[in-house]
């Protein structure tokens, strides 16, 4: 008896020591995580129930769900939500299919060639959104842009088009740029996932006389499913957050035809100084992203 109680008090001391050291290891990171991620998140939800503006004397006034109610009556918000969904619905499948296709073609190539291709498709991501955007702005330019020049040369357009200034084209131009900056990471992921597929499975199916296509759908596709899911989730989140492109290319114009939720949040908060209203939009956006990620997870699990 005495021995066992001795043991428990010793193990208790051990547990306490382990807990204390764990907290010490966590502490430096927690200061930043809680201070600059968790607290702002809580503040975001909290402020969304207030009429909060900028200024020294401005006081936050509690208005309950007023901000949220106003959102659905705000035609610009509804329009920006619609634009955001168009961007997500177009870009997510295109990014996934395109990157899978490219990866399937390059993953068996020799080392240096493979890494050159991977590098090139990753370039627009590394170059940075600002540098990428300003060069595309030039390429789309009405007078000096190469799109109009090449388009006229090939007979695709008969007169100069003001790509970014025309409601018909502006959003599609943005989606095009977004696509070039979104496929880099999925390609890296798919190349490594395809490279990890067990070769003995593939060889066995070859012996059984499976065609390339059968091999892909029956063996490789199920095995890379977790990667596909991950890519779906990150591409969705990235497309929802599309901001720099909009701010630098069109500022939401013409006539709000390229407003996205993220840009509209920026606009209300930092141009109109309506923090509470902006935060309410942020909360709605976060809920949409969470829902969509949950749906994608569920679908993938069922499969």
């Amino acid at each position: 008896m005495a021995k066992s109680s001795n043991m428990t008090s010793r193990s208790k001391a051990l547990v306490r020591r382990e807990t204390r050291s764990a907290y010490l290891f966590l502490l430096p990171n927690m200061i930043f995580f809680i201070g600059f991620v968790i607290i702002p998140m809580i503040l975001c939800i909290y402020t969304s129930f207030f009429d909060s503006t900028m200024g020294k004397d401005a006081k936050d006034v509690f208005i309950g769900f007023q901000n949220y109610i106003e959102l659905w009556k705000d035609p610009i918000f509804v329009r920006s939500l619609k634009n955001t969904f168009v961007i997500v619905i177009v870009s997510v499948p295109v990014v996934c299919i395109f990157s899978l296709w490219v990866s399937a073609l390059i993953y068996k190539l020799k080392g240096p060639i493979l890494s050159t291709f991977r590098c090139v498709f990753y370039l627009p991501v590394v170059t940075g959104s600002v540098a990428v955007t300003v060069v595309w702005k030039w390429m789309f330019n009405n007078y000096y842009g190469i799109f109009n020049y090449v388009g006229k040369g090939l007979g695709l357009v008969d007169k100069n088009i003001n790509w970014l200034g025309d409601e018909k084209y502006a959003l599609w131009c943005i989606i095009l740029i977004l696509l070039t900056t979104s496929v880099g990471q999925p390609i890296v992921l798919y190349v490594s996932a395809l490279g990890n597929v067990d070769t003995s499975l593939v060889e066995a199916s070859e012996v059984d006389g499976a065609t390339n296509l059968q091999q892909f759908w029956k063996i490789k596709w199920p095995l890379i499913m977790p990667t596909t899911l991950y890519i779906l989730v990150i591409t969705t989140i990235n497309s929802f957050q599309c901001f720099a492109l909009i701010q630098l290319l069109t500022s939401g114009g013409p006539n709000h035809s390229t407003d996205t939720v993220m840009y509209y949040i920026y606009y209300t908060a930092f141009k109109l100084y309506r923090y509470g209203y902006g935060n309410a939009m942020g909360v709605v956006l976060a809920i949409f992203i969470a829902l969509l990620s949950a749906v994608q997870f569920k679908l993938a699990k069922e499969k």
């Binding site: 010490l24 291709f117 300003v134 060069v135 990471q185 992203i289």
Partner: protein, 309 residues
């Protein structure tokens, strides 16, 4: 049989050609930035574009460097703006005056290096604790980290801005660095790597009488080194390119980052494409060089983070 082989090889050649064309299209914007930076004004504004600069000139860079100036570096008293007479920071040590674009580069490098170092140290420690230690609140903390990761980072920028001004950090480079360090992806990645450290090795070290710090530095760190390499390069590039955060937190000329500087340049001279391309190449070239140099770590890190997560 023979025709089948032929068909597949023709198919292969055609797809390779398409792939190469696509690769050229993907690299083209970068080519256009760099060549545009060295073109003459006449060549830039020609309605028939010069696919290759006819003559290489430095005019655009000269213009960029003569636009604005700023001290190369400034050291200020922490929270000096709280108690200085005019509410401005108290600078006690400023470097020589240089073109503002150079200062922007210095700011950007400082920001990215600081974010990288702080993230790697804190995330490695926290990731190890999460993976290898048992403590109260562990499950809750891990859930919090995963949830925070799935949420859009930019949504919290409004409250973050108010928090930073309350802490007198607004318009300092730290306002951009701290939230980057707090972002939980690093902890998540380091936890996945620390899982791979065998428990017996830690146990053996403990029996040998090694302290917690010694165990961590001598045993854990060498084993998670590839993960730290990946996290370092990942954080560096992301921090360099995190335009939205920089846009909101920084505003005076001497505080800008290179991305922000180019964006301002574009807003002020929207049709001087030569000048803008000179700025853009200044922003893009260093980060691309770093990416190519550390490409191996980077791609490995992305892949490992996803597979294990």
């Amino acid at each position: 049989m023979n025709s089948g082989v032929k068909r597949t090889s023709v198919y292969k050649i055609v797809t390779m050609i398409i792939l190469v064309i696509l690769a050229i299209l993907f690299a083209f914007p970068l080519y256009w930035i760099v060549t545009g930076a060295f073109k003459t004004a006449a060549s830039i504004n020609a309605t028939t574009p010069d696919w290759f600069p006819k003559e290489w000139v430095m005019d655009n860079f000269k213009k960029l460097f003569s636009r604005q100036t700023a001290p190369l570096w400034e050291l200020a008293v922490p929270f000096g703006s709280k108690f200085s007479a005019d509410g401005k920071p108290i600078v006690f040590f400023a470097g020589p005056v240089v073109p503002a674009a150079i200062r922007w580069l210095v700011n950007t490098v400082f920001m990215s290096v600081m974010a990288m170092v702080l993230t790697c140290i804190t995330a490695a420690m926290a990731g190890y604790a999460l993976a290898k230690k048992r403590f109260r609140g562990q499950q809750l903390l891990f859930t919090l980290i995963v949830c925070a990761m799935a949420l859009p980072k930019q949504v919290i920028l409004i409250p973050l801005l108010r928090e930073m001004s309350a802490l007198s950090l607004y318009n300092t480079i730290w306002a951009v660095i701290f939230p980057t360090v707090g972002w939980p992806f690093g902890v998540f990645l380091m936890k996945q790597f620390s899982e791979g450290v065998p428990g017996e090795m830690l146990e053996a070290a403990r029996i040998d009488g090694a302290g917690e710090a010694k165990t961590f530095i001598d045993i854990v760190l060498p084993m998670i080194k590839p993960g730290i390499g990946a996290l370092a390069i990942f954080t560096f590039i992301n921090s360099w390119n995190d335009y939205f955060m920089q846009l909101i937190m920084l505003n005076s000329t001497s505080k800008l980052t290179i991305s922000l500087g180019i964006a301002k340049l574009q807003a002020e001279n929207s049709t001087d494409f030569g000048l803008i391309m000179a700025g853009a190449s200044l922003a893009a070239i260093p980060i691309i060089a770093i990416f190519i140099a550390f490409q191996k770590y980077f791609t490995q890190g992305i892949a490992m983070g996803a597979v294990k997560g």
